[in-house]
Symmetry: D2
Subunit: 258 residues, 4 copies
């Protein structure tokens, strides 16, 4: 009999110098994987070191979270970068985090692209392939995290990486398995119970109810836990409890491949 399992991942280490951001320490008590900013869209060397150290201490899987070189825009503005530029900036950032992981005696588990880089790589195959290649070239043992059904997950599988398909608790889905665009009024799920139920169904049945009313197949290896918002940590705690009650093991994504 198969075991149900799910990883909870969250963005971390987004402080920069005097600018503090996020509730990393609290979140690290709830999530099982941390996506640590690498200095391009957020993060700085001191923050990277402290976050790696804290994640290791709490047994949370460590991931690099490379983004676009746009600190002012927090990596959220699309930039017309070439696949080669994407390759290079991913190698650079993954390498930089790797330095801290080695210095702290840990292991890097995964890579998750940030913001606009994540979104562009979800739909543009050449960009997705460049990112997958960069991750593979730095370390073929790394897990590549991408939006479930995205070009990035496909590119990762194609090159021979292990991949983790990400789903969202608080977003609705379309008939083709894509997320409902945020500009549409029904994009977000506000009710906590409905969000929890959506995740449980995705894990146990491998489907999500689309906004068109039909069930859609979806792969759910990890769910994105937001770090911002007043109730982010509280929701994560509640979700984790509900998952346990539903018989779903919450654990770092690497365990799936162990």
């Amino acid at each position: 009999m198969d075991m149900y399992r799910l990883d909870l991942n969250s963005d971390m280490g987004e402080s920069f110098g005097a600018y503090r951001l996020g509730r990393d320490s609290e979140l690290l008590d709830v999530v099982t994987s941390a996506n640590i900013a690498c200095g391009y869209h957020a993060g700085d060397p001191a923050t990277m070191r402290e976050t790696v150290k804290l994640a290791l201490a709490k047994g949370v899987g460590i991931g690099a979270h490379p983004g676009l070189p746009d600190l002012l825009g927090f990596g959220r503005r699309n930039m017309d970068i070439s696949p080669k530029e994407a390759y290079d900036m991913v190698v650079y950032q993954v390498g930089a985090l790797y330095g801290f992981v080695r210095a702290e005696g840990g292991t890097m588990q995964h890579v998750k692209a940030h913001g606009a880089l994540y979104n562009m790589a979800a739909v543009r195959a050449p960009l997705a392939e460049a990112i997958a290649e960069a991750v593979y070239d730095v370390n073929p043992e790394l897990i590549l995290l991408g939006l479930s059904g995205s070009e990035l997950v496909k590119a990762g599988q194609k090159i021979g990486l292990r991949t983790a398909s990400e789903v969202f608790a608080d977003r609705t889905y379309q008939q083709d398995g894509t997320l409902t665009p945020r500009r549409q009024p029904d994009a977000m799920i506000q009710e906590e119970q409905r969000a929890v139920d959506q995740v449980i169904r995705m894990v146990k049945e491998g489907t999500v109810q689309s906004q068109q009313g039909t069930p859609v197949s979806i792969e759910a290896h990890t769910v994105c836990i937001h770090g911002d918002g007043p109730h982010a940590v509280e929701f994560a705690v509640a979700l984790r409890k509900s998952l346990a009650d539903a018989g779903i093991t919450v654990e770092p994504m690497s365990r799936r491949f162990a």
Copy 2:
């Protein structure tokens, strides 16, 4: 019988985006170790990848060349950074270059701090120790390059790193083994032959004639080859030939420890 040997190192990969700098390809035919900029004082991800690739193709030892976060000042302006900040910025930059070295299937040989970071670490023990610790923590097999007789070399030895003592062909020395400050009129050696002779004597006799007229003990594992100036490459070629004629083997610094 002991063999005489010397490494020739040069700064590389200092281009940034549309800004091209240096004659890297030519220099890589002459030197045996390359200090590759890591994006703080100079360099960018594409340049790092290309320089690593080229150095590997030419059999030149690869080193990380971390600097201060001051692209505008090319890392040449002293900054009052704390030892912990120095630690973090070295781990970050060495890690970033490490990404490209892994991606290209190579090995990193050494670390040389750049500009103001190099100069400050030569005389400030706490800063030197933080840098040595950073290098050690990322990889204890790395060789730490520092000014001959400097605090950085001492710190490297203290923590258990292999170290390479750097000397200068075109700089004069003081009775205490330090370089004559650049602001003094007799700081530079202009005559090519005198510069070559100084290097040969440092390698073979372990001494340098000080400006005070007395010989001073000095350790010479590697000599700094400048990449700028109209005759930089030409001097390097001439030096290398003279070293060979004097029975000194020119090879990457790692061979010393092989």
Copy 3:
């Protein structure tokens, strides 16, 4: 009787710290207006001061050349910035250059957006309007330079700015007055005489021969002189001579409104 007149503009002040770029001093002897980089895509405070000083000494019209905050990409990569973000970055950069113009006792003549910002503003009306508004708000006396027929020129006229329509000597045009995209084989004009003739015709007849063989109306107030390329300055000198021979007065764009 109407006088024929034309401004020659060129990008300037694109050096950054140790990185030197361009043949500014030579170009300033040929062109009549200088677009001075403001520190976002290129340029630094020292370079801005020196370039303003030199332009004033040579009687060349001074313009701000604001770009995207992307030094690594030289401002050539499109970024999904909002109109408000465009407004703010133009006010910031024009203001910064204004500081040097005041310090040197000069006057600012015009504003020309750089690279991707110029290209995006040529076709996106909301972005064009935000840039025009920024220029107007800083100083309604400034001339807004834009691609002939572009949204930016329209936005400038709409808000009440004086505008200068830019044409290219070395680019071919389409039936609708737009430039032939660079990816097409016939985008560039290689023959110097043909390039010169195209400019003279644009000024004297107000038309350009399209790639479809039909003449197209075009407004030609200023022509873009490239600073890069081995023969850039030489071509500018030849063009200027030919214009004089054809009875076209070459002078800063501000004279048109005097």
Copy 4:
């Protein structure tokens, strides 16, 4: 009969992109002059525009707050910049803020250097003179704010600028009129009443009680109001009330020269 008057100044506009910092809106209800960050040590174009707008709406005097190009270190780390570099970075930043002041239809009142730049300029005459010259060259009507008794105030007076001498409520002073270094245990004044009394005495008597027990002459035109700390705004409100009770008019520093 002479009127007693004092300006309250505070650092503002230190947010950067997604990073929010400070309680600007509340502080602007209490202080009379705002030092607005210009994008080097903190601040971004959008924040500059919003802060200028808010200060104008609340009748608070607007000042440029140029700092070192060190966002990561918040401009607090000394850098070995040359006087010319200081000149250029002050012109650039004052100019940039000037853009927003013009766009919002306001007037710039003063310039206050930030952090390490302020501290270095307090004791290094050549740096102080370069900063004073930069301010004067951009606009000789600007008031230059500096530490009371500092080289910066002297340099401002020497070049012909109006100057504002800054004092601190919560810092103790030495016999020579300098601030007790922060590393000393008696550097800070913790008791609110003692801090208020010190300010009132400085304004009314022109003296401060030194740590050596003797009164020292001091010029007090403006007092620094901190924006951080849990009770910063509350202390400012209390101080302002006490000043009014003591018959001291609290008003922008420019009124002194009206």
